[in-house]
Symmetry: C4
Subunit: 221 residues, 4 copies
């Protein structure tokens, strides 16, 4: 028979197990990554219209789907990288993760918005706010987790902690600039959103290459 | 070779394994938590209308999405807390869990309803009924599980069992009051629905702080 | 280092592991069980119409959601019971399971159809065909799995195998009768569809009670 | 206490664990396989129209659902077969898998397109491009994985590697032909799309039968 202390420890581990946090998150990721496909409907042809013309009209739906797919895929890869460090969750971590899923869920709407109104400052600003919220909650999760070594498989040293925060902060700053430019220079704003995924790949590649031998960053996706 | 008794025990464990109950539940949670995003469509602009005005018109969809997201997240966190106690399921438990998923699935409709008709007594009453059904089935699962120690990792003592039931009963009473007020005082009714998530956080925080040293309640999310 | 024979055995086990079959199936179950909620939209009010009247008009959507929820829940519970027996899958089993998911996916359409056209023989016949296909593929899976003892944790004896087949065959016969009655006696046909879930519960309860001591049937959900 | 080298190894294994890649993929597969059911709506009856006639009008939706279901099921079975070989993932593999999920997600749109415009060369060409993209990314994953023995449970010899690539290349060639025929011979093009799943089954069956004793191919689904 288990001693009371073993029982207590058993419940503690189950209560801090990340398994269901991942199950919910991966479910949300899978839905968000495919959601905008639902918006791509086979068009009806107007009088004398060719299918090619009709498909050209629904091009913004394709573009929105692509943007949403790529941004969600990057978010998922980053989420997966983060959770390779996590051994346990706690109340704060679970709720921060839920907070992170919130702007992620609205992302398809933002992508759809800027694909339809690609020069409208309101659309560009709103999409920027969604992307900024994803980056900010991501930063909060990173800072929280690395400040709670009991949640981690291996403690993250202060330097790596700051390095990780700086990487996400760069995204935060980029999106703030893009939002600020939404009204005076919508084209520049749009260019930033388009370039962000490319910057991310470059950033991760540099981060992997510059990672000290044997650090977790070498394995980032 | 296994003896017949070992085989019997093996099937018993597989038949009472909570794994697929969690897989189905987390799938439903992920869908419900993102479902209302599907209702937020990029608006077409009427003659002379700005995008800002058009977005203001679809604000109820955003509000409904937010309500549904928060309530579902709370329900998921509570469901996760409950299942940290569960070692096995049985027929009654599985069906109570399915019964619990039923009002949860309709929750997005209720959120959508009160965000559109926020002063209509029928809308407020119907949304209250959905929330009440979630609380009542939650209460039933708690009472059932804690009354079947063979389903639990560790038996729950009578005092903790009552304490857990009282917490959910408070939610039941609050929703009954909100439903009763739907017709005579719709604003009060709406205020209660808005306040309920806040009350939940306060309730859990008190419950964690007041939990006896080493009790499972300390780990609740 | 592993010998080639161990490697072969390792791949054999991975290739016959039911894990991903369950992951796909539970994903489909979760989607199907919540799908019709998407059809329940908050109604717009016509001139002088009350919300109560408008909601009454969308009642068929609620009924369809409920039917679909209950039938899918039963199918899921049966699928879970079946897989407690399964240790391995093989090619035939995997494809039979996919074949089973096909009518299951169309079930929401059938439920929606009879809730809108509840006296139309075409609607009743089509819904019956969907339910019949679910029962027939279920029967095929049972017969296939129990005829391949290498797929099972414990071999099923000939008597239990026939007993299981008879239970599902009763459902097959009931649905054939309901389809035959769709045209001459639509009300009787509808009554059979409504009664089927009730019959299922009674059937399982009898099956559990009459199961020989120590048989797998005792644990069915 | 763990040595730093053990910690490093632990993170390495978690960072290359395929579990979440499968969770995301199976979520996407489950959504894609059921997505087109959402397009099958219960029809409203026009004046004097029978339900049978109204259902006949929405037949393309059924056909699109069926095509999408079958092609997705085949893709899922192939994905499952592939992952029985995979022990670890790496950055390239994870992104190739995401790239593979992209055309898969658009597949329902392609199926819907050719079921509505079954003689239109643009529809046939676009659907062909989607199917071709699935085959090409599949080929890339196969080539990448088998060229990185550290990702595999058991190294794949050069002959098996080429044999696997040839099987998928046949699909690539078939789809290229179907796309080329879309304009001059739409009926032939359509026939190829319809025949492809049948060819797949025959191909796998031959591949299983001709597999050398003890090779992984014997277990393919």
């Amino acid at each position: 028979m288990l001693s009371s202390s073993d029982e207590r420890q058993g419940h503690f581990e189950r209560a801090h197990d990340p398994a269901r946090v991942l199950a919910l998150s991966d479910g949300v990721f899978a839905i968000v990554i495919t959601l905008l496909v639902l918006e791509i409907h086979v068009p009806d042809l107007a009088q004398g219209q060719s299918l090619r013309e009709a498909l050209r009209e629904i091009r913004p739906s394709f573009v929105a789907f692509l943007i949403s797919f790529v941004v969600t895929a990057i978010a998922w890869a980053g989420h997966r990288d983060l959770f390779t460090l996590i051994r346990r969750t706690d109340r704060g971590f679970v709720w921060l993760n839920i907070l992170y899923l919130l702007p992620l869920s609205i992302l398809p709407f933002g992508a759809s918005l800027i694909s339809t109104y690609d020069k409208d400052s309101v659309a560009l600003g709103l999409d920027g706010l969604i992307l900024l919220s994803i980056a900010l909650t991501r930063l909060a999760i990173w800072w929280y987790a690395t400040g709670h070594p009991d949640l981690l498989h291996t403690a993250v040293d202060a330097q790596s902690r700051r390095a990780g925060a700086i990487v996400v902060s760069v995204a935060v700053i980029i999106y703030v600039i893009a939002i600020a430019l939404a009204d005076p220079a919508p084209t520049a704003s749009l260019a930033i959103y388009a370039a962000a995924p490319v910057l991310y790949f470059i950033g991760i590649t540099i981060s992997r290459a510059s990672a000290p031998e044997g650090s977790a960053r070498e394995d980032f996706t």
